[in-house]
Amino acid sequence: MMGSRTIKALVIAATIVALWEAVVRLGLVNQIILAAPSDIALAAAKDGGLFLRAFATTIMEIGAAILIAWTLGIGLGVVVGSLPVLAAATAPVLSSIFAIPLIILYPLLMAWLGIGPLSKIVFGVLSGFFPIALNTIDGVRAIERRYLLFARSVGATRLQTYVRIVFPLALPAMLSGLRIGTGLVVIGVIVTEMLASLGGIGFLISYHRTLFNTGHVYLGMVLALAIAVTVNIGLTWLDRRIGLWRMREQAEG
Protein backbone atom coordinates (compact mmCIF):
# COMPACT_ATOMS: atom_id res chain seq x y z
CA MET A 1 0.00 0.00 0.00
CA MET A 2 1.55 3.30 -1.02
CA GLY A 3 1.42 6.25 1.33
CA SER A 4 -0.29 9.44 0.24
CA ARG A 5 3.04 11.21 0.05
CA THR A 6 4.37 8.73 -2.47
CA ILE A 7 1.22 9.03 -4.57
CA LYS A 8 1.52 12.82 -4.46
CA ALA A 9 5.15 12.65 -5.58
CA LEU A 10 4.34 10.24 -8.39
CA VAL A 11 1.50 12.45 -9.62
CA ILE A 12 3.79 15.48 -9.65
CA ALA A 13 6.45 13.50 -11.51
CA ALA A 14 3.95 12.22 -14.06
CA THR A 15 2.63 15.75 -14.61
CA ILE A 16 6.12 17.09 -15.19
CA VAL A 17 6.87 14.34 -17.70
CA ALA A 18 3.64 15.00 -19.52
CA LEU A 19 4.25 18.74 -19.65
CA TRP A 20 7.79 18.13 -20.80
CA GLU A 21 6.60 15.92 -23.65
CA ALA A 22 4.01 18.49 -24.63
CA VAL A 23 6.47 21.38 -24.61
CA VAL A 24 8.71 19.60 -27.08
CA ARG A 25 6.00 18.14 -29.30
CA LEU A 26 4.25 21.49 -29.59
CA GLY A 27 7.48 23.02 -30.83
CA LEU A 28 7.79 25.42 -27.88
CA VAL A 29 11.38 24.36 -27.48
CA ASN A 30 13.60 23.25 -30.30
CA GLN A 31 13.81 19.48 -30.41
CA ILE A 32 17.54 19.68 -30.85
CA ILE A 33 17.97 21.41 -27.52
CA LEU A 34 15.44 19.56 -25.44
CA ALA A 35 14.64 15.91 -26.05
CA ALA A 36 11.14 14.74 -25.27
CA PRO A 37 10.71 11.88 -22.82
CA SER A 38 9.58 9.74 -25.73
CA ASP A 39 12.83 10.47 -27.59
CA ILE A 40 14.78 9.37 -24.55
CA ALA A 41 12.76 6.18 -24.31
CA LEU A 42 13.35 5.55 -28.01
CA ALA A 43 17.09 5.96 -27.58
CA ALA A 44 16.98 3.55 -24.67
CA ALA A 45 15.11 0.99 -26.72
CA LYS A 46 17.51 1.33 -29.59
CA ASP A 47 20.88 1.38 -27.82
CA GLY A 48 20.02 0.31 -24.30
CA GLY A 49 22.68 -2.38 -24.23
CA LEU A 50 25.44 0.01 -25.23
CA PHE A 51 24.37 2.50 -22.61
CA LEU A 52 24.26 -0.14 -19.93
CA ARG A 53 27.77 -1.25 -20.72
CA ALA A 54 28.95 2.35 -20.62
CA PHE A 55 27.08 2.81 -17.35
CA ALA A 56 28.97 -0.15 -15.90
CA THR A 57 32.31 1.31 -17.00
CA THR A 58 31.53 4.65 -15.42
CA ILE A 59 30.38 3.05 -12.17
CA MET A 60 33.56 1.02 -12.02
CA GLU A 61 35.75 4.09 -12.54
CA ILE A 62 33.82 6.09 -9.97
CA GLY A 63 33.87 3.24 -7.47
CA ALA A 64 37.61 2.79 -7.76
CA ALA A 65 38.25 6.51 -7.55
CA ILE A 66 36.03 6.86 -4.46
CA LEU A 67 37.79 4.04 -2.67
CA ILE A 68 41.25 5.44 -3.34
CA ALA A 69 40.28 9.05 -2.65
CA TRP A 70 38.68 8.13 0.67
CA THR A 71 41.64 6.05 1.79
CA LEU A 72 44.27 8.58 0.75
CA GLY A 73 42.28 11.57 1.90
CA ILE A 74 41.40 10.24 5.34
CA GLY A 75 44.73 8.54 5.85
CA LEU A 76 46.78 11.57 4.95
CA GLY A 77 44.36 13.84 6.72
CA VAL A 78 44.68 11.98 10.02
CA VAL A 79 48.46 11.83 9.79
CA VAL A 80 48.92 15.49 8.87
CA GLY A 81 46.24 16.60 11.32
CA SER A 82 48.04 14.85 14.17
CA LEU A 83 51.29 16.66 13.56
CA PRO A 84 50.56 20.30 14.41
CA VAL A 85 53.62 21.73 12.72
CA LEU A 86 52.96 19.82 9.53
CA ALA A 87 49.30 20.77 9.62
CA ALA A 88 50.01 24.46 10.11
CA ALA A 89 52.42 24.40 7.21
CA THR A 90 50.47 22.34 4.69
CA ALA A 91 46.85 23.31 5.30
CA PRO A 92 47.11 26.79 3.74
CA VAL A 93 49.00 25.37 0.78
CA LEU A 94 46.39 22.69 0.21
CA SER A 95 43.57 25.18 0.33
CA SER A 96 45.31 27.46 -2.15
CA ILE A 97 45.83 24.59 -4.55
CA PHE A 98 42.11 24.09 -4.33
CA ALA A 99 41.70 27.23 -6.44
CA ILE A 100 43.42 25.65 -9.43
CA PRO A 101 40.90 24.33 -11.95
CA LEU A 102 41.91 20.70 -11.82
CA ILE A 103 40.40 20.06 -15.21
CA ILE A 104 43.43 21.59 -16.89
CA LEU A 105 45.47 18.70 -15.56
CA TYR A 106 43.43 16.19 -17.47
CA PRO A 107 45.22 16.68 -20.81
CA LEU A 108 48.44 15.94 -18.94
CA LEU A 109 46.92 12.74 -17.61
CA MET A 110 45.78 11.99 -21.15
CA ALA A 111 49.33 12.34 -22.42
CA TRP A 112 50.74 10.23 -19.59
CA LEU A 113 48.07 7.61 -19.10
CA GLY A 114 46.05 7.54 -22.27
CA ILE A 115 42.30 7.94 -22.50
CA GLY A 116 41.26 4.69 -20.89
CA PRO A 117 39.74 4.22 -17.43
CA LEU A 118 43.03 4.81 -15.64
CA SER A 119 43.26 8.50 -16.45
CA LYS A 120 39.63 8.93 -15.35
CA ILE A 121 40.25 7.16 -12.06
CA VAL A 122 43.37 9.18 -11.37
CA PHE A 123 41.56 12.41 -12.17
CA GLY A 124 38.64 11.37 -9.99
CA VAL A 125 41.01 10.69 -7.10
CA LEU A 126 42.68 14.07 -7.58
CA SER A 127 39.31 15.81 -7.60
CA GLY A 128 38.09 14.21 -4.42
CA PHE A 129 41.30 14.02 -2.47
CA PHE A 130 41.75 17.66 -1.49
CA PRO A 131 38.44 18.41 0.21
CA ILE A 132 38.57 15.06 2.02
CA ALA A 133 42.10 15.61 3.24
CA LEU A 134 41.52 19.25 4.18
CA ASN A 135 38.37 18.55 6.16
CA THR A 136 39.96 15.59 7.89
CA ILE A 137 42.94 17.71 8.86
CA ASP A 138 40.61 20.35 10.29
CA GLY A 139 38.62 17.72 12.13
CA VAL A 140 41.66 16.15 13.72
CA ARG A 141 43.22 19.47 14.63
CA ALA A 142 40.02 20.63 16.29
CA ILE A 143 40.04 17.79 18.78
CA GLU A 144 40.31 19.27 22.24
CA ARG A 145 43.35 18.40 24.28
CA ARG A 146 41.26 17.10 27.14
CA TYR A 147 40.31 14.02 25.10
CA LEU A 148 43.93 13.19 24.41
CA LEU A 149 44.78 13.75 28.05
CA PHE A 150 41.96 11.45 29.01
CA ALA A 151 43.20 8.82 26.58
CA ARG A 152 46.63 8.89 28.18
CA SER A 153 45.28 8.82 31.70
CA VAL A 154 43.17 5.78 30.95
CA GLY A 155 46.07 3.89 29.40
CA ALA A 156 45.05 3.80 25.75
CA THR A 157 47.78 2.76 23.33
CA ARG A 158 48.59 4.99 20.39
CA LEU A 159 46.56 2.84 18.03
CA GLN A 160 43.61 2.75 20.42
CA THR A 161 43.73 6.51 20.80
CA TYR A 162 43.61 6.99 17.04
CA VAL A 163 40.95 4.43 16.27
CA ARG A 164 38.67 4.82 19.26
CA ILE A 165 38.98 8.47 20.15
CA VAL A 166 40.55 10.59 17.41
CA PHE A 167 38.70 9.01 14.50
CA PRO A 168 35.17 9.20 15.97
CA LEU A 169 35.76 12.75 17.20
CA ALA A 170 36.94 13.89 13.77
CA LEU A 171 34.14 12.04 11.99
CA PRO A 172 31.66 14.94 11.54
CA ALA A 173 34.30 17.07 9.85
CA MET A 174 35.52 14.10 7.85
CA LEU A 175 31.99 13.53 6.66
CA SER A 176 31.60 17.03 5.22
CA GLY A 177 34.83 16.46 3.38
CA LEU A 178 33.61 13.10 2.14
CA ARG A 179 30.37 14.63 0.90
CA ILE A 180 32.08 17.38 -1.06
CA GLY A 181 34.93 15.19 -2.21
CA THR A 182 32.82 12.27 -3.35
CA GLY A 183 30.59 14.62 -5.33
CA LEU A 184 33.68 16.00 -7.01
CA VAL A 185 34.91 12.49 -7.80
CA VAL A 186 31.68 11.71 -9.63
CA ILE A 187 31.78 14.97 -11.60
CA GLY A 188 35.45 14.50 -12.34
CA VAL A 189 35.05 11.06 -13.81
CA ILE A 190 32.00 11.91 -15.92
CA VAL A 191 33.41 15.18 -17.22
CA THR A 192 36.71 13.61 -18.26
CA GLU A 193 34.78 10.87 -19.97
CA MET A 194 33.02 13.61 -21.88
CA LEU A 195 36.30 15.26 -22.84
CA ALA A 196 38.16 12.26 -24.17
CA SER A 197 37.45 8.65 -23.55
CA LEU A 198 37.09 5.21 -25.06
CA GLY A 199 33.94 4.40 -23.15
CA GLY A 200 31.65 5.33 -20.33
CA ILE A 201 28.51 7.41 -20.08
CA GLY A 202 30.35 10.70 -20.66
CA PHE A 203 31.80 9.35 -23.86
CA LEU A 204 28.38 8.37 -25.18
CA ILE A 205 26.96 11.78 -24.30
CA SER A 206 29.69 13.54 -26.25
CA TYR A 207 29.54 11.14 -29.14
CA HIS A 208 25.83 11.57 -29.66
CA ARG A 209 26.06 15.32 -29.21
CA THR A 210 28.27 15.54 -32.28
CA LEU A 211 25.60 13.59 -34.18
CA PHE A 212 22.81 15.80 -32.79
CA ASN A 213 21.11 12.68 -31.42
CA THR A 214 19.51 14.71 -28.66
CA GLY A 215 17.48 11.74 -27.41
CA HIS A 216 20.67 9.78 -26.79
CA VAL A 217 22.38 12.77 -25.25
CA TYR A 218 19.58 13.20 -22.74
CA LEU A 219 19.49 9.49 -22.02
CA GLY A 220 23.15 9.68 -21.13
CA MET A 221 22.57 12.76 -19.00
CA VAL A 222 19.72 11.08 -17.16
CA LEU A 223 21.96 8.13 -16.37
CA ALA A 224 24.78 10.40 -15.29
CA LEU A 225 22.44 12.39 -13.06
CA ALA A 226 21.12 9.14 -11.65
CA ILE A 227 24.62 8.23 -10.55
CA ALA A 228 25.20 11.65 -9.03
CA VAL A 229 21.91 11.65 -7.18
CA THR A 230 22.35 8.09 -5.90
CA VAL A 231 25.80 8.89 -4.56
CA ASN A 232 24.37 12.00 -2.93
CA ILE A 233 21.57 10.01 -1.31
CA GLY A 234 24.05 7.42 -0.09
CA LEU A 235 26.18 10.09 1.52
CA THR A 236 23.16 11.75 3.11
CA TRP A 237 22.21 8.43 4.62
CA LEU A 238 25.72 8.00 5.97
CA ASP A 239 25.62 11.52 7.30
CA ARG A 240 22.39 10.88 9.13
CA ARG A 241 23.60 7.61 10.64
CA ILE A 242 26.57 9.39 12.07
CA GLY A 243 24.45 12.41 12.93
CA LEU A 244 24.34 11.30 16.52
CA TRP A 245 27.63 13.03 16.97
CA ARG A 246 26.12 16.34 15.90
CA MET A 247 24.10 16.52 19.05
CA ARG A 248 27.25 16.82 21.04
CA GLU A 249 27.74 20.30 19.65
CA GLN A 250 24.75 21.44 21.64
CA ALA A 251 25.53 19.40 24.71
CA GLU A 252 29.15 18.78 25.59
CA GLY A 253 30.19 22.22 24.28
Binding site: R146, Y147, L149, F150, R152, S153, V154, G155, A156, T157, Q160, R164, I165, P168, L244, W245, M247, R248, Q250, A251, E252
Partner: protein
Protein backbone atom coordinates in the same frame (compact mmCIF):
# COMPACT_ATOMS: atom_id res chain seq x y z
CA UNK B 1 53.49 2.46 53.58
CA UNK B 2 51.75 5.64 52.46
CA UNK B 3 50.11 5.38 49.10
CA UNK B 4 51.45 8.73 47.93
CA UNK B 5 54.88 9.96 48.91
CA UNK B 6 56.10 13.24 47.52
CA UNK B 7 59.47 14.61 48.54
CA UNK B 8 61.03 17.86 47.46
CA UNK B 9 59.08 17.95 44.24
CA UNK B 10 59.90 20.75 41.83
CA UNK B 11 58.54 21.55 38.39
CA UNK B 12 59.77 24.15 35.95
CA UNK B 13 58.22 25.05 32.63
CA UNK B 14 60.20 26.77 29.94
CA UNK B 15 58.31 28.70 27.32
CA UNK B 16 60.73 30.28 24.93
CA UNK B 17 63.36 32.00 26.99
CA UNK B 18 61.26 32.37 30.09
CA UNK B 19 61.53 29.85 32.88
CA UNK B 20 58.44 29.45 35.00
CA UNK B 21 58.79 27.70 38.32
CA UNK B 22 55.41 26.10 38.96
CA UNK B 23 56.27 24.00 42.00
CA UNK B 24 59.11 24.28 44.45
CA UNK B 25 60.04 21.87 47.21
CA UNK B 26 56.68 20.19 47.63
CA UNK B 27 56.65 17.41 50.18
CA UNK B 28 53.79 15.47 51.69
CA UNK B 29 52.44 11.96 52.05
CA UNK B 30 49.01 10.42 51.95
CA UNK B 31 47.98 7.24 53.75
CA UNK B 32 45.84 4.66 52.11
CA UNK B 33 42.09 5.04 52.29
CA UNK B 34 42.22 8.73 53.16
CA UNK B 35 40.38 11.60 51.52
CA UNK B 36 42.87 14.40 51.07
CA UNK B 37 42.26 17.76 49.44
CA UNK B 38 44.68 20.31 48.09
CA UNK B 39 43.63 23.96 48.17
CA UNK B 40 45.43 27.02 46.99
CA UNK B 41 45.03 30.26 45.02
CA UNK B 42 44.65 30.25 41.25
CA UNK B 43 47.77 29.46 39.31
CA UNK B 44 49.63 28.02 42.29
CA UNK B 45 50.31 24.77 40.50
CA UNK B 46 47.60 22.49 41.87
CA UNK B 47 46.71 21.01 38.50
CA UNK B 48 50.37 20.63 37.62
CA UNK B 49 50.93 18.66 40.80
CA UNK B 50 47.98 16.45 40.01
CA UNK B 51 49.22 15.75 36.52
CA UNK B 52 52.59 14.78 37.93
CA UNK B 53 50.91 12.44 40.38
CA UNK B 54 49.00 10.93 37.48
CA UNK B 55 52.18 10.36 35.55
CA UNK B 56 51.06 12.62 32.72
CA UNK B 57 53.97 15.02 33.07
CA UNK B 58 57.39 14.52 34.58
CA UNK B 59 58.81 16.34 37.58
CA UNK B 60 61.90 18.47 37.16
CA UNK B 61 63.30 17.58 40.57
CA UNK B 62 62.40 15.53 43.59
CA UNK B 63 60.59 12.25 43.86
CA UNK B 64 57.05 10.97 43.61
CA UNK B 65 56.22 7.47 44.72
CA UNK B 66 52.88 5.77 44.35
CA UNK B 67 52.78 2.68 46.55
CA UNK B 68 56.52 2.82 46.75
CA UNK B 69 56.99 2.89 42.99
CA UNK B 70 58.48 5.91 41.26
CA UNK B 71 56.00 7.23 38.77
CA UNK B 72 57.04 8.22 35.28
CA UNK B 73 54.07 7.25 33.12
CA UNK B 74 50.35 6.85 33.71
CA UNK B 75 49.46 3.76 35.74
CA UNK B 76 45.90 3.20 34.59
CA UNK B 77 45.45 0.13 36.74
CA UNK B 78 46.39 1.89 39.92
CA UNK B 79 45.45 5.50 39.34
CA UNK B 80 42.28 6.99 37.90
CA UNK B 81 41.65 10.59 37.12
CA UNK B 82 38.45 12.61 37.09
CA UNK B 83 38.77 15.95 35.34
CA UNK B 84 36.81 19.16 35.67
CA UNK B 85 35.22 18.42 32.34
CA UNK B 86 33.76 14.92 32.43
CA UNK B 87 35.22 14.27 28.98
CA UNK B 88 32.77 11.52 28.17
CA UNK B 89 32.80 10.07 24.67
CA UNK B 90 29.70 11.58 23.06
CA UNK B 91 28.89 8.63 20.85
CA UNK B 92 28.83 6.12 23.68
CA UNK B 93 26.06 5.52 26.19
CA UNK B 94 26.68 6.13 29.87
CA UNK B 95 27.28 2.43 30.41
CA UNK B 96 29.62 2.18 27.43
CA UNK B 97 31.56 5.16 28.75
CA UNK B 98 32.00 3.52 32.13
CA UNK B 99 33.11 0.32 30.42
CA UNK B 100 35.60 2.11 28.20
CA UNK B 101 38.77 1.68 30.36
CA UNK B 102 38.00 -2.02 30.74
CA UNK B 103 37.15 -2.32 27.07
CA UNK B 104 40.58 -0.95 26.18
CA UNK B 105 42.14 -3.55 28.37
CA UNK B 106 40.22 -6.36 26.73
CA UNK B 107 38.15 -7.36 29.73
CA UNK B 108 35.51 -9.87 28.73
CA UNK B 109 32.11 -8.42 27.95
CA UNK B 110 29.77 -9.99 30.48
CA UNK B 111 32.13 -9.41 33.38
CA UNK B 112 32.66 -5.86 32.19
CA UNK B 113 28.96 -5.13 31.85
CA UNK B 114 28.15 -6.57 35.24
CA UNK B 115 30.79 -4.58 37.04
CA UNK B 116 30.01 -1.32 35.29
CA UNK B 117 26.25 -1.64 35.75
CA UNK B 118 26.93 -2.04 39.45
CA UNK B 119 29.08 1.08 39.39
CA UNK B 120 26.37 3.08 37.67
CA UNK B 121 24.01 1.95 40.39
CA UNK B 122 26.52 3.07 42.99
CA UNK B 123 26.53 6.57 41.57
CA UNK B 124 22.75 6.54 41.30
CA UNK B 125 22.43 6.38 37.53
CA UNK B 126 21.33 2.83 36.80
CA UNK B 127 18.19 4.13 35.07
CA UNK B 128 20.32 6.13 32.67
CA UNK B 129 22.67 3.39 31.57
CA UNK B 130 21.56 3.63 27.96
CA UNK B 131 21.41 7.39 27.75
CA UNK B 132 23.92 9.44 25.80
CA UNK B 133 26.00 12.22 27.38
CA UNK B 134 24.07 14.95 25.63
CA UNK B 135 20.91 13.66 27.30
CA UNK B 136 22.39 13.99 30.78
CA UNK B 137 22.85 17.01 32.99
CA UNK B 138 26.28 18.28 34.00
CA UNK B 139 26.07 16.64 37.40
CA UNK B 140 24.99 13.33 35.91
CA UNK B 141 27.84 13.38 33.42
CA UNK B 142 30.28 13.90 36.21
CA UNK B 143 28.79 10.93 38.03
CA UNK B 144 29.37 8.81 34.95
CA UNK B 145 32.96 10.07 34.90
CA UNK B 146 33.35 9.04 38.54
CA UNK B 147 31.91 5.60 37.81
CA UNK B 148 34.32 5.35 34.90
CA UNK B 149 37.15 6.27 37.22
CA UNK B 150 36.15 3.43 39.54
CA UNK B 151 35.88 0.86 36.75
CA UNK B 152 39.52 -0.30 36.71
CA UNK B 153 39.34 -0.69 40.51
CA UNK B 154 42.23 1.69 41.13
CA UNK B 155 43.96 2.23 44.43
CA UNK B 156 44.05 5.99 44.04
CA UNK B 157 41.60 8.43 42.50
CA UNK B 158 42.81 11.87 41.52
CA UNK B 159 40.15 14.53 41.09
CA UNK B 160 40.84 17.91 39.49
CA UNK B 161 38.11 20.32 40.60
CA UNK B 162 35.46 17.90 39.37
CA UNK B 163 32.53 19.95 40.59
CA UNK B 164 33.76 23.40 39.64
CA UNK B 165 31.53 23.66 36.59
CA UNK B 166 28.35 22.80 38.45
CA UNK B 167 25.88 25.11 40.14
CA UNK B 168 26.12 25.42 43.90
CA UNK B 169 23.27 23.13 44.88
CA UNK B 170 24.33 20.35 42.55
CA UNK B 171 27.89 20.81 43.71
CA UNK B 172 26.98 20.40 47.35
CA UNK B 173 24.89 17.35 46.65
CA UNK B 174 27.63 15.80 44.55
CA UNK B 175 30.09 16.32 47.37
CA UNK B 176 27.80 14.53 49.78
CA UNK B 177 27.25 11.66 47.35
CA UNK B 178 30.95 11.42 46.64
CA UNK B 179 31.64 10.88 50.33
CA UNK B 180 29.04 8.14 50.27
CA UNK B 181 30.75 6.44 47.33
CA UNK B 182 34.15 6.87 48.96
CA UNK B 183 33.03 5.25 52.15
CA UNK B 184 31.52 2.33 50.27
CA UNK B 185 34.55 1.70 48.04
CA UNK B 186 37.38 2.53 50.42
CA UNK B 187 39.57 4.18 47.77
CA UNK B 188 42.16 6.81 48.43
CA UNK B 189 41.05 10.15 47.03
CA UNK B 190 43.28 13.10 46.23
CA UNK B 191 41.04 16.05 45.48
CA UNK B 192 41.77 19.54 44.22
CA UNK B 193 39.50 22.50 44.69
CA UNK B 194 39.28 26.24 45.01
CA UNK B 195 36.44 26.04 47.44
CA UNK B 196 37.59 25.98 51.06
CA UNK B 197 34.17 24.86 52.26
CA UNK B 198 34.23 21.93 49.88
CA UNK B 199 37.72 20.97 50.98
CA UNK B 200 36.91 21.05 54.67
CA UNK B 201 33.60 19.25 54.31
CA UNK B 202 35.03 16.40 52.26
CA UNK B 203 38.47 15.67 53.62
CA UNK B 204 40.45 14.02 56.37
CA UNK B 205 43.34 16.35 55.63
CA UNK B 206 43.60 19.63 53.80
CA UNK B 207 46.92 20.50 52.20
CA UNK B 208 47.26 24.25 51.88
CA UNK B 209 49.37 25.41 48.98
CA UNK B 210 51.11 28.76 48.55
CA UNK B 211 50.88 30.95 45.44
CA UNK B 212 53.37 30.23 42.68
CA UNK B 213 55.87 28.69 43.01
CA UNK B 214 53.62 26.30 44.90
CA UNK B 215 54.73 24.64 48.12
CA UNK B 216 52.76 23.10 50.92
CA UNK B 217 52.39 25.69 53.66
CA UNK B 218 50.53 23.51 56.10
CA UNK B 219 48.62 20.29 56.46
CA UNK B 220 45.42 20.69 58.43
CA UNK B 221 43.67 17.72 59.96
CA UNK B 222 39.89 17.83 59.83
CA UNK B 223 38.39 16.09 62.83
CA UNK B 224 34.69 16.14 62.11
CA UNK B 225 33.26 12.65 62.64
CA UNK B 226 32.11 10.56 59.68
CA UNK B 227 29.69 10.14 58.07
CA UNK B 228 29.50 13.91 57.71
CA UNK B 229 26.24 15.74 57.40
CA UNK B 230 25.88 18.90 55.33
CA UNK B 231 24.87 20.99 58.32
CA UNK B 232 28.41 21.01 59.71
CA UNK B 233 29.18 23.59 57.06
CA UNK B 234 27.34 26.23 59.04
CA UNK B 235 28.93 25.36 62.37
CA UNK B 236 31.34 27.54 64.31
CA UNK B 237 34.13 24.99 64.26
CA UNK B 238 33.86 24.81 60.50
CA UNK B 239 34.04 28.57 60.21
CA UNK B 240 37.14 28.70 62.38
CA UNK B 241 39.01 26.19 60.24
CA UNK B 242 37.95 28.03 57.17
CA UNK B 243 39.23 31.33 58.45
CA UNK B 244 42.47 29.68 59.39
CA UNK B 245 43.05 28.31 55.94
CA UNK B 246 42.00 31.59 54.36
CA UNK B 247 44.58 33.47 56.41
CA UNK B 248 47.25 30.97 55.58
CA UNK B 249 46.66 31.44 51.89
CA UNK B 250 46.27 35.20 51.84
CA UNK B 251 49.22 35.89 54.09
CA UNK B 252 51.57 33.62 52.26
CA UNK B 253 54.18 35.58 50.31
CA UNK B 254 53.60 35.49 46.57
Amino acid sequence: MPIIEVSKLGKDFSSGRVLVRALADVSFSVEEGRFVTLVGPSGCGKSTLLQILAGLIAATSGEVRIEGERICAPMPNKISMVFQDPTLLPWKTALANVEFPLDLRGVERTARRKRCSALLELVGLNEFANHYPHELSGGMRQRVAIARGLAPDPRLILMDEPFAALDEQTRTRMGHDLLDIWEKTGKTVFFITHSLAEAIYLSDFVLVMSPRPGRIIKTIAIDFPRPRELDIIGSEAFGRIRNRIWHLISESPA
